[in-house]
Structures are given as C-alpha cells and as structure tokens.
C-alpha cells in the first residue's frame, strides 16, 4: 500500500554520523523513498591545488598526506611518481620495494576501515570498526617505526623514500603477516555471510559495467561492477610488476560486491606483502637529485628545492579508493605551475545520484558507505 505523500527534503550532513566527514547529501524523499539527491561539498575545501603552486615540489609532499588521510602512503606515492615521471628519475630497487610494501600495508589499513565503517553504516554498532582498528593499529605501528608518524606519514621522497627501515622492522612485519590471515578469516566468517549485511547491501546501489565506465568510477567500485581493471596490473608502478596477485571483481555491481572486493583485496595485499618482503633487495633507498640550494655543504636526502624541466606529467596509482592521479604542469620554476589531484573519492561520487534515486534513506547511507569516500580527498 503506497500512500501519496508530500516531497520531504532531508539534509544528511554536513554534520552526520555516516557522512564520514563534513559532506552533505540533500535527499528529497517521498515517504522513505528517495526521489532526488544532491551532493553539497566543499566544507573541507583547503585549496590545496592553489597552495601547492606556492610551495616547492618537496614541500608539497605533506599535502598529499592530507588529502586521503586514511591512506597517506598511496597519496605520497602517486605524487612522487608524477614528479619522477616529469623529471625522468630512476628509483633504486630497494626504494621501489619499500614503496610497494608501504602502499600495500596502507591498503590493508584503509580497506579495514572501509569494511568496518561499511558495516557500521549497515547499522552494526561500532563493533566491526573496533575490530578493524586493532589491525590498523599494528600497521600504523609499523609505519611509525619506519617514518616516525602514524597518520600523516610524509614517507615518500622524489627519487625514493625518506629513510630506510630500521632493523627491527622486518621481524615485526613478518609477525604481523602471520597474524593477519587469522583475523581476515574471522572477518570473512563474520561479515561475508552475515544475513543482515547481505539483506542490506545485495541489490542495492547497482551500477552496471557500462554505467561504471561511463561515470569514470575507479577502484573497488569499478571492479565491483565486474570490470577487471587495476592499475597495479594494467600499468605497474613501483615493484608491482615483480609480484604475483589477482584482481578481485564482482559480478553484480551492488554494494555487497564492493564490500566483498575489499575483503578479497585484503587477502591479495597480504599475498603481495609476503612476496615483497621475501624479495626485498638491499641497496640505497634514494636517488640523489643533485644538491640542495637551501643548505649548501650538507647533502640532505631529498633536496628541498629543485627545478624540473618544462613539461607535464600525469602520474597515477591504484589507491585503496581507486585511481589516484596527480597531474603536474611545470614551467621550469621551483614549484608546480599546475598541481591537480584526480581524487578517486570525488569522482566515485558522480554516480551517487543515479544509485540513490529509487532507494530508501537507509539504502543511501549504505551506498555512501560502499563508495568509501574520504572527505579530505573529495574536497581537497
């Protein structure tokens, strides 16, 4: 029985438990059904692209931490890859492996959060998030050992990484790798066949592969729609070409698919990490880029300022949320002439309206949770 009722506008956000930050979704409802959805963003806009035009290339690395603050390593990596492409720098082998390891650890940390918060959006009261935090903490401990920071890592440098890992790092990492499969099995047991999660997410927010490609979505959203596309495989960077792994794809393109893909990618990341830790070569971790003009006489590992040649480069990687690209235009000056972040969170939001219309309020929250946005990256 449907009773015709008045259109009813509900603002989800900017301050709302499930918008994952200050993001606003204006839903027009007919009863509980969504008939229109409008995204309003910019509450966290920090004009990074403009600021970056005022800093040197090295000074810009900390900005890349602060876009996707749940995956700072991949943010760093995408930016340094873009600059290295611009300057044609060869990165030492060990640095490549370190970058890969850090990026995969970061992917596990980020996907853990995404899965936990997705379950939270389905209504689980914090428990999955808290369990996921447990793993994430261990990974952040490893990051802290490697670079001294836990969240905004600032670890990658143009030409390598900021420093080599300490001696205790490898045993610690091996210990973690032994622990994690048990945890992942537990999560798969608890979440994958959870009746309520299935009921809430299957058949909700469906994107066909044609729609997914047309809407430029990337990462787990694209793969959830059944398109086997992963930049790590398609256009390997760092040391991914030396590692064996599989791409997880979904078959239905719904929220459940995006969620199971993240669970499957945890396993794949673990598999990659095992290989990478075994294959890790020794050697320098940084390619020197000439001398810094800041402190003549000393040789800092990454010069604070340098002038890349005139030109442009688009460096991209597969971040946990999708294709993270940095488009950098150089005019030969010490800072980028144009610094653009192709942020997956932002572009993955494009089909939100398409997915939300026709579903209910509760579904919209689940869809937003399955897109897995980080508002720092949406607004930049």
């Amino acid at each position: 029985m449907t009773i015709k009722s008045e259109p009813f506008v509900v603002n989800v956000g900017p301050q709302h438990p499930s918008t994952h930050g200050v993001f606003r979704l204006r839903l027009t409802l007919d009863g509980e059904k969504i008939i229109d959805a409008d995204m309003i963003m910019g509450y966290l806009h920090r004009s990074m692209e403009k600021l970056a035009e005022e800093r040197t290339y090295t000074q810009n690395i900390p900005f890349t931490d602060r876009t996707d603050y749940l995956a700072a390593m991949t943010g760093n990596l995408a930016y340094v890859i873009a600059v290295e492409k611009l300057m044609n720098i060869e990165v030492p082998e060990r640095a490549q492996f370190l970058r890969t390891i850090m990026a995969e650890l970061q992917r596990i940390a980020s996907h853990s959060m995404a899965i936990g918060i997705f379950a939270n959006d389905c209504g689980a009261w914090q428990t999955p998030v808290m369990h996921m935090f447990r793993d994430r903490e261990k990974i952040l401990d490893l990051f802290e050992m490697a670079c001294g920071a836990r969240l905004t890592l600032n670890y990658m440098r143009i030409g390598g990484v900021s420093r080599d890992i300490p001696d205790e790092w490898m045993p610690q990492a091996h210990k973690l790798l032994k622990e994690l499969p048990k945890r992942f099995a537990e999560y798969e047991d608890l979440l994958l066949s959870n009746e309520i999660i299935i009921a809430r997410s299957r058949g909700v927010g469906v994107l066909t592969p044609e729609q997914a490609i047309a809407y430029s979505v990337s990462g787990p959203m694209l793969r959830g729609s059944g398109v086997a596309w992963d930049i790590r495989k398609a256009d390997p960077y760092a040391a991914y070409d030396k590692l064996d792994f599989e791409i997880a794809v979904g078959t239905n393109g719904d929220c459940y698919d995006r969620f199971v893909i993240r669970l499957a990618e945890l396993r794949q990341s673990l598999y990659m990490l095992e290989q990478a830790l075994d294959m890790m070569p020794s050697g320098p971790v940084h390619q020197r880029l000439g001398t810094s003009t800041v402190q003549p006489g000393t040789q800092p590992i990454a010069p604070l300022a340098f002038r890349p040649p005139v030109g442009e480069a688009y460096g991209r990687i597969e971040s946990p949320r999708g294709e993270l690209g940095y488009y950098i235009v150089s005019d030969g000056g010490p800072s980028p002439f144009r610094f653009h972040i192709r942020s997956p969170s932002f572009i993955n939001l494009t089909p939100l309206k398409l997915m939300a219309i026709g579903s209910t309020v509760a579904d919209a929250i689940v869809i937003l949770g399955s897109v897995d946005i980080v508002v720092g990256e949406v607004d930049r």
């Binding site: 692209e49 040197t56 490609i213 809407y215 430029s216 398609a234 488009y327």
Partner: protein, 173 residues
C-alpha cells in the same frame, strides 16, 4: 603495461579522420579545436581502434595566455592512455563544449573546473559551483586571482631562502 600514446601519434590519427580538427601535437598531448571537440571525443570513445571508453581525469589549466582543459583518456580494451587538450583563448569568459554527453563521469569534474577556473562548459546540464559557495567572487585557481601589488602574481620564482628580488611573481615575464 599501459601504452602511453604520444600526442603526435594521436594528432595524426585524429587528423586522418577529422581534418582541421587538430590544433597542436606535442609528445605529451594533442590539442583539439574546441569546435570539433565533441565529435573527436565521441569518435575516440567509439572507434574500435581507439576505444577510450574511460575518462580518467578532466581538469583545467590556466596558461595565462589561454585556458586549457585536459582530458586524460584510458582504453581498457587496448590498455592505452592518451591525453587530449582543448584551449579557450577568452580570458574573461572562457568556454569549451561539455564532455558530459560523451562521458557522464565528466559531470562533477567539469563542475570543479568551472568552480575554480570559471571555464564554462557549454551543455553541461548542472553547471554550478561545487566547492565554493554561490556568489563567491572570482575563480581562485586562475593565475590572476588576488593579484599582488604591482601586477605580480602568486607563485614561486626562486628558491626559498635564495637571495633575489622580493616576490617576483610568475607569469609576469
């Protein structure tokens, strides 16, 4: 491994299909005339030899003399990537055709470029400000936004700490 198609190659193949459509071909990118943009992009998407179904990124650049919009394209079929640009010489009211009819994913990115550069995308169904509020004065990513005294523009010309003239902005020379 993704093949990065050079702009020169791309310019040649576009030229073969649409004479007069190509404005420039550089190693990194090909520049298309704004009048022919939509047909070129549609052709690039639909032609089985190119099949750039995926618009990876769309953004604007303020080149001071002109504005350009950059399209990074991706072909899943051939695992190929290419870069197309289109220019708009109008400093005050730059405008290029919207790519939304070709790739729906351009929707939010065009809004972003409009918001920060003021580039009008003709044909975009929902061209509103996205990060900044309606009525925000100016377009902040333009190089002349908030000019410094003496017509200088923000941006680093020299290394920090390096002796030199104070604050000689870029784009003035």
């Amino acid at each position: 491994m993704t093949t990065y198609v050079t702009g020169i190659q791309l310019a040649h193949s576009i030229d073969g299909q649409f004479p007069d459509a190509v404005e420039d071909g550089q190693p990194e990118f090909a520049v298309v005339k704004s009048d022919n943009l939509i047909e070129v992009l549609t052709w690039l998407r639909d032609d089985p030899d190119h099949a750039y179904q995926f618009l990876s990124s769309l953004t604007g650049v303020d080149r001071i003399q002109w504005f350009e919009v950059v399209y990074h394209l991706e072909s899943f079929k051939h695992n190929r990537a290419a870069t197309i640009k289109v220019r708009s010489d109008d400093r005050e009211n730059p405008s290029v055709p919207s790519a939304v009819p070709v790739w729906l994913g351009a929707q939010l990115q065009e809004r972003e470029a409009y918001d920060l550069f003021g580039i009008r995308f003709e044909g975009n169904p929902d061209l509103r400000r996205i990060f900044l509020w309606d009525g925000f004065a100016g377009f902040p990513l333009r190089k002349d936004y908030l000019n410094l005294p003496g017509g200088k523009r923000p941006g680093l010309e020299r290394f920090p700490g390096e002796p030199g003239d104070d604050l000689s902005g870029r784009g003035t020379k």
